[in-house]
């Protein structure tokens, strides 16, 4: 059977996907590396410059700041999102109708596109015309200039992102919690373990893989933050909220410096690849130790 089945015609089934895959993903991936080593103008005529683009990036304060901004906003979003989502999942992991309604509410924002989310938050965060401004003024306070003060724009992007992305990690945690065998809790109850002890000793170790997945997925997603920064603050004021992908976008499609933008893309790619590999390494180690 096996020898008879090992024929070339199996390739016909995978060929349509693979052809597109190689044309639209693998070729551009390699071409991107080529571009990053060249100085390329709008018409695609490249001159080999070696690692000049990378050297220029390291000395470019705009790029440096965009990296710092990206790391900062990731640091603001990921821990808060993870803790909130886990707390919600623990509270809503029950079969009641109320819990189902709450799950629906907390997930609803996740189905919106980034343009709708930023449109909504523009008119919540704007001090003159926003909901938050109205509430602040109602309380007799001065509205905070969330979208124009250099110290407040990154938090504004983080708040928007947390509101937008809470649903997915919550659902992932819920799915993880469902996998914990009931007898582990029974054993803990027999040992007279309190709620906190049960949480730290049973729940948390059991969902370790989900926890790693959530943190790494969110980290990779926030390192690529673009729409929020472009639409809410346009990276401003004076670059205070410019993320790396926004930098790349501006250099590529505003200044048409394709080689330089490609080098920035490769650096970010390596950072994200590092995050992904860390996840594989962490969960792979689990698998070996038989968890």
């Amino acid at each position: 059977m096996r020898a008879a089945a090992r024929r070339w015609d199996g390739l016909l089934f995978v060929a349509p996907f693979l052809l597109l895959y190689c044309t639209i993903l693998i070729y551009p991936l390699l071409k991107g590396i080529w571009l990053s080593l060249h100085r390329v103008d709008l018409f695609g005529q490249g001159t080999l410059v070696g690692f000049d683009n990378y050297a220029r990036l390291i000395g470019d304060p705009t790029f440096g700041q965009s990296l710092i901004n990206t790391f900062l906003v990731t640091l603001m979003v990921v821990p808060v999102l993870t803790v909130l989502a886990l707390a919600l999942a623990l509270a809503l992991n029950r079969a009641t109708r109320d819990a189902a309604i709450f799950r629906g509410i907390f997930f609803s924002s996740s189905v919106l596109s980034v343009t709708i989310v930023t449109l909504i938050f523009r008119f919540i965060l704007a001090p003159d015309a926003g909901l938050l401004g109205e509430i602040w003024q109602g309380l007799g306070w001065e509205p905070l200039p969330f979208l124009s003060h250099p110290d407040l724009t990154l938090p504004a992007l983080a708040i928007t992102t947390i509101w937008w992305s809470l649903g997915l990690p919550m659902m992932l945690f819920l799915a993880g919690l469902q996998q914990i065998p009931e007898d582990m809790y029974e054993a803990a109850a027999l040992d007279n373990a309190g709620k906190w002890t049960t949480f730290w000793r049973v729940t948390l170790p059991s969902i370790r893989r989900t926890l790693i997945l959530v943190v790494m997925l969110q980290t990779a997603a926030q390192l690529q933050m673009f729409g929020q920064a472009q639409l809410l603050t346009a990276g401003g004021p004076s670059g205070a909220s410019r993320t790396t992908v926004l930098f790349l976008f501006e250099v590529a499609f505003g200044r048409w410096e394709l080689g330089y933008a490609s080098a920035a893309a490769e650096i970010l790619f390596l950072i994200i690849l590092g995050v992904t590999l860390t996840q594989y390494w962490l969960t792979g180690r689990d698998r070996e130790s038989g968890r």
Partner: protein, 278 residues
């Protein structure tokens, strides 16, 4: 959800936290809805007017009379449906090949596909843009759809699902003289409907909400999808017909996605469960 999962009652402070949290989650949506139901002139310089009546549907009537917004809706529908159908076809074929047939370089090719899981779209956007410019595909439906068809996750997902189907089914059909394609089409594919619907919902949601590629590829406003169209309206806010109209556009653009979400909630939850225990 198994009843046995319930463990103890939620303390009162837990309920307060949930209610406050839910209010914070819902307030922006309610606020948007209220703004969209207000006369534009009333909102100028005083968005607080949204908290009280009179409310009107005039902004929604204006959208239905606005050719541009309807065109963006049509574009979004074509691109999202086209992407969904394309992904289902390509991933089912590839999944069948990888899961149930043996051919030279099968493992190598599958590893190559899995590599795609680790490639973020920003890493390939510039050469993709060049490629599509060379092919003359910008500002066209194929140009908007094609990059969305490249989903390593879809192939991985279908392969895993098809691998779980018993091999005896193929062998029995083979003895009856059925061709490979007949086996795929008549025997295996009908068994994968649950996986197909999950993949379809996710592809549709992702495609409908995609901003990055259409922003770069569709430069003519008649080829915008709703996401890009809405982005351009909010950036030219000063020149548009006002806050109420803008918010009505946002509500209008999210109606299809909420309908899909409500109808296919089960598939979404099931897919999450699959990802979490992967």
């Amino acid at each position: 959800m198994a009843a046995s999962i319930q463990r103890g009652r939620l303390p009162w402070w837990g309920w307060i936290g949930l209610v406050v949290g839910a209010a914070i989650m819902a307030a922006p949506l309610v606020w948007t809805l209220l703004l969209s139901l207000k006369n534009n002139a009333e909102l100028v310089g005083n968005s607080g007017a949204a908290l009280s009546g009179p409310y009107t549907l005039e902004n929604y009537v204006a959208i239905l009379g606005n050719d541009r917004t309807l065109r963006w809706l049509l574009n979004s529908v074509i691109v999202s449906l086209g992407t969904t159908v394309g992904v289902l076809v390509l991933c089912s074929l590839a999944g069948y090949g990888f899961a149930r047939l043996d051919f030279p370089f099968r493992r190598t090719l599958f590893t190559l596909v899995l590599l795609g899981l680790a490639i973020p779209s920003q890493a390939v956007i510039l050469p993709q843009h060049q490629l599509f410019a060379t092919l003359g595909l910008h500002n066209s439906y194929p140009g908007l759809i094609l990059p969305g068809l490249i989903t390593s996750f879809g192939v991985f997902f279908m392969t895993t699902y098809m691998r779980a189907i018993p091999k005896e089914l193929d062998e029995a059909a083979m003895l009856d003289g059925a061709s490979r394609f007949t086996i795929f089409w008549k025997v295996i594919l009908p068994l994968t409907v649950p996986a197909q619907s999950t993949l379809a919902v996710f592809t549709f949601l992702g495609s409908w909400n995609d901003y990055w590629w259409p922003l770069i590829s569709a430069t003519r406003s008649d080829m915008y999808t709703l996401t890009v169209g809405l982005a351009s309206s909010q950036m030219n806010y000063a020149q548009t017909s006002g806050l109420g109209f803008l918010m009505a556009q946002a509500v209008f653009a999210s109606i299809p996605i909420f309908v899909v979400y409500v109808i296919f909630q089960k598939q979404i939850v099931r897919a999450m469960a699959g990802t979490a225990v992967r």
